[in-house]
Homo-oligomer: 351 residues x 4
């Protein structure tokens, strides 16, 4: 039947990522929310966990093991890393028709040793891992279209890779001197109760965190190494910014002899000119998070530094949308043969 | 031709209200943005004035006197009060087909003396004023549908009147003891450059303002007096809150003998049960601005006070959406015979 | 020896109230911090719990039962309510020289039934309770000077009572129609991990909370009833504001025949003209929390309402200073015979 | 007379820098505020321009040309750059006893060509310039003590130079590869009315600004070049952060063969071990702006990067205190023979 909606189940619906997937799905013309799980809130209406969704008609939250996957076409998974591998494997093994869009980190790293090193536990679904397609939509469409399991990139990797992949592939930047200063709104830390994300702790202040230890590094290096065909190590320092949404990456790069920021912009234009969600701003205009809040857009620009042979690359996106739930829906659209922008047309919310 | 889009022109497109009208219009399936005016920014692309709209294809900003109203079906006006009367009159006189949805204060007050008292200047378009329909959609649909000129309520009046009109009509509250404590995000003060709306002045602080002098009072009193058939004076004290969007009204009322908060809730349910944008929350749940950010929803609830015979009414909405641009589009939908929720289905953005 | 410093011990030094007591004590010329307790952080340096205090030389945190009270002159207690009664009793019984300045709620209510009703547990130190002096400094100096146990008022009661006590005593307002709309920064909710005080939940939003059930009501009513010699019930609705510090009370009162806001201001001037920390602003100037951040000042003003016979009273203070730790030090100064402003002269921090 | 206070005049007292100088001076035991100037607010009480200072007894604001400099010992100047040169020259020429602590940028650059290049106007007081001592207290005490004119560093240069000067002098970092990612609260942009510093524009967002063009670069390069005896060019990109106060510098450096972050920490310890306001945090602890708000402290740390031969340096301070008014008072203390910490002992305000 032509009008049948695609039924989705959202795992981890009590987290910010899950809630934003629900928010976007609500106005997606082809999606129906069939199941919402959240073990610690099972049995509750979604409205008691996320009052801003009270205006919608949604199924109550259930435990994961109570969900009926046979009635679901696509699973969108917003569980914390480390819990997704076995669940994904279980669902995919038992329900051959189901497709799984994972917003967690569990299937992003192809090398199980790297996974274990950075996540401190062995990979427990290595038989499923080879099926996983890295879900950076703009760079992996064909594989995503056919995949049963899509591992959506982390929020930082999405922005970094949208900025650097065309440069790595085109030899526009030196791969051995990439310094990434990352800034994120507090929602990137999730909804779990932690002292450093209390209003009084995160507000009116700026903090570096996870200096030299952030788990998005191996994922970025995996993709940059593949794109440049050279083992790439990056310098990456994230900072917590007193805002809820949005992230901005300031990337300091060294250029091969004769290259300039103009070459960076050209390399992007060659790849992204027709992309609906990736935009190169006019020369001289710096991206800022205010330009993308609540939307699925990623903005890029590059500037020649005062030091010859160096450039400054800036990328921004909303960590919960293009950096997570929005990109997941974009991938779902690709997987299900829908126009890629379906349900993602909302303009940014400003102010 | 069935598919022809309705062409709108937005006056005052460089203000927050105008920009939010544009944001909403962009995903409205029946609207086409044909003209954007902003005298001080004429000639610029909208993207230089509102970079978050860079991703859209929009006409450049023009001067008001350069706009071609013959090519426009509906004017949405976000000019400051005091500038709209002559412009509206000019447009409506010259272009009989044009309909005018005014988000300014200029046509809200039916009595020119009251207008002059509160706005400090005489009304300059009293011949057009009788045509103006007060655009509180839920309470005035029939008149709005036929109107050429709709005067959308102010943001505070929208929330106050959605809460109090059913109570005033039903005799559920005493009209001589209504105390309204109003709190608004900073966008309610507009985009003009004022010291008190600088980040460093408004941030991390709470300020009462316009104590006993706020211009939304006469508008509220006009409508409450009409609804209750008694001359009504309210106590109204607004406060500036360090957030961009959202407003919340805490209204302290005295009840006629035997009435309770339950009667308030019942009066609302009788009127709003089928409304798509006005919702009575479950008993005991307090509305908060976080539940409506970026959406066209208004949330209500009522609580019995500890003092017998008193109740506490709480109402919230996004001042730029249901309090302005969203309600304006809702009215436009009514005027043009479209389903009232068209283009306004977005769920709130949280966090 | 004239130069000997007063040794203080801070109970609950890992909370915001305790930390602000430490902050103020650090520049108080007569105080020495001899002990800091925090059971869950015992053994840690204060700098690991409050990095902003890393620049000070402070004793490590200990468990309460490890503290040596014989070496302490004054205990400042910032424990949560319900835990202080037995500890205070134990310390006061065992160490006759010790004086106890309690910032918790445990000794504020003189009637054990009222305590049990509002705090859900029986009072467990009723033998000590009669010794407790309610520590609203400006209204209770003589008793505070002699007290061994001072129960500092809650943050809201401090502001409300500074505003209303002179009016209640002077018959300047009707006691049967007092509506208090209270707004507080998030630090008022403490440092405990709660979802509603996360940055992403409290930020960019305004929420009423504890509607009709806030525990500061019985305390306010106890003092207003005593001052006015009439049983007083108030209407009190608090709201959470997206700022860390500061609270503002908008109080709606009805005036006896012939009284005006001018009489309110006169009543305050009569009482507060020489007070170092309570100030009546010039006519027409509204207090705001930005004027008091980080300081021990309380600002007041009153406005005639548009409704005859009504007035609007506004009071503001920093909830952690005059509303808690600052007032506690002010009381300590009184108890120890020091000039009352010692250590509390800091001007507000703005912006 | 031994007790006579030092009389100060604050130029530009209606700006944030001037106001913070007043705030600090109010509790400085040796200072008396004798004059406050602000041309556009001349004649007003300070309390109408900065209500948080209403609690102090201060002279009314005057025009600069009305100030009586003969009655002033020290001028603290918070005027915008470009206006200070002629005023300083006039005051210093006419009043030989006056000492001038300049918080503006006008006397920081020793080379008039560099000044003209970056500030777009010729230097107009080059005869006075040679007298100007660069007021980075910790590195220039002897010269400051004797100076009549002290040019306090900009906020960013203060933090950058406290971090890098010991490294430049000691050869601990390569001078040809210094990348500085700077983040500042909004007060750094001043109190002037600009759209990008409105609450609704700067709030809930992060923006790079002045990419490759920020005027603090030549000042940093002047001092680093002198310290390292090599012409030094830096990469410097500032960002506007949604907080009022505080700045944080993340500095990416390359190290000479064999050097590590430990050498950076050692170099700092050698210089700063006894400094009251510059602190090296324990290994692994990242500085954050929350640790210094409202105080005169600067915090430093260094981390070995994952890329061999690279380190990450982090520095933070309050831009209005150690980055401006606090350092100015610290210099005043040095100039007047007072203990350097006088009036600057306040602990940071957190939360």
């Amino acid at each position: 039947m032509v009008d049948a909606k695609i039924k989705i189940g959202v795992l981890g619906a009590s987290g910010y990522t899950g809630a934003d997937a629900v928010r976007l799905a609500l106005t997606h013309p082809n999606l129906e929310i069939a199941a919402l799980t959240a073990n610690t809130h099972a049995g509750k209406p979604m409205a008691t966990v996320f009052p801003h969704l009270a205006i919608a008609h949604l199924p109550d939250l259930t435990r994961i093991d109570e969900a009926d996957w046979s009635a679901v076409d696509v699973v969108m998974c917003g569980l914390p890393h480390g819990t997704t591998q076995e669940i994904a494997k279980g669902v995919l093994d038992a329900h051959k028709h189901v497709r799984f869009v994972d917003m967690s980190a569990d299937f992003r790293l192809r090398d199980p040793d790297v996974y274990e090193t950075w996540y401190g536990r062995p990979h427990t679904a290595m038989d499923v891992q080879p099926e996983a397609v890295y879900g950076l939509t703009e760079h992996n469409r064909a594989a995503i279209a056919d995949a049963r399991l899509v591992a959506c990139p982390g929020c930082y990797p999405t922005a970094v890779l949208l900025a650097l992949l065309p440069l790595a592939r085109g030899g526009v930047v030196d791969m051995d001197d990439i310094v990434i200063d990352a800034k994120s709104g507090v929602s990137g830390a999730g909804r779990g109760l932690k002292e450093n994300t209390l209003f009084c702790e995160a507000g009116e202040g700026l903090s570096p965190y996870a200096v030299t230890t952030h788990r998005h590094m191996p994922e970025i290096e995996q993709e940059l190494s593949a794109a440049s065909a050279t083992d790439t190590t990056i310098s990456f320092t994230p900072h917590l910014v007193p805002m809820s949404r949005g992230e901005l990456l300031t990337i300091y790069v060294r250029l091969p002899q004769g290259k300039t920021a103009g070459d960076i912009r050209s390399a992007w234009q060659a790849v992204y000119a027709d992309e609906p969600f990736v935009h190169v701003l006019p020369e001289g205009v710096a991206p800022s998070t205010q330009m993308v809040r609540g939307s699925n857009h990623c903005l890029l620009n590059a500037f020649d530094d005062r030091i010859a042979g160096r450039a400054i690359v800036v990328a921004t996106l909303d960590n919960l949308v293009k950096g997570s739930a929005g990109q997941a829906i974009q991938n779902l659209n690709v997987m299900m043969g829908l126009p890629e922008t379906t349900g993602l047309e909302q303009a940014p919310l400003f102010p």
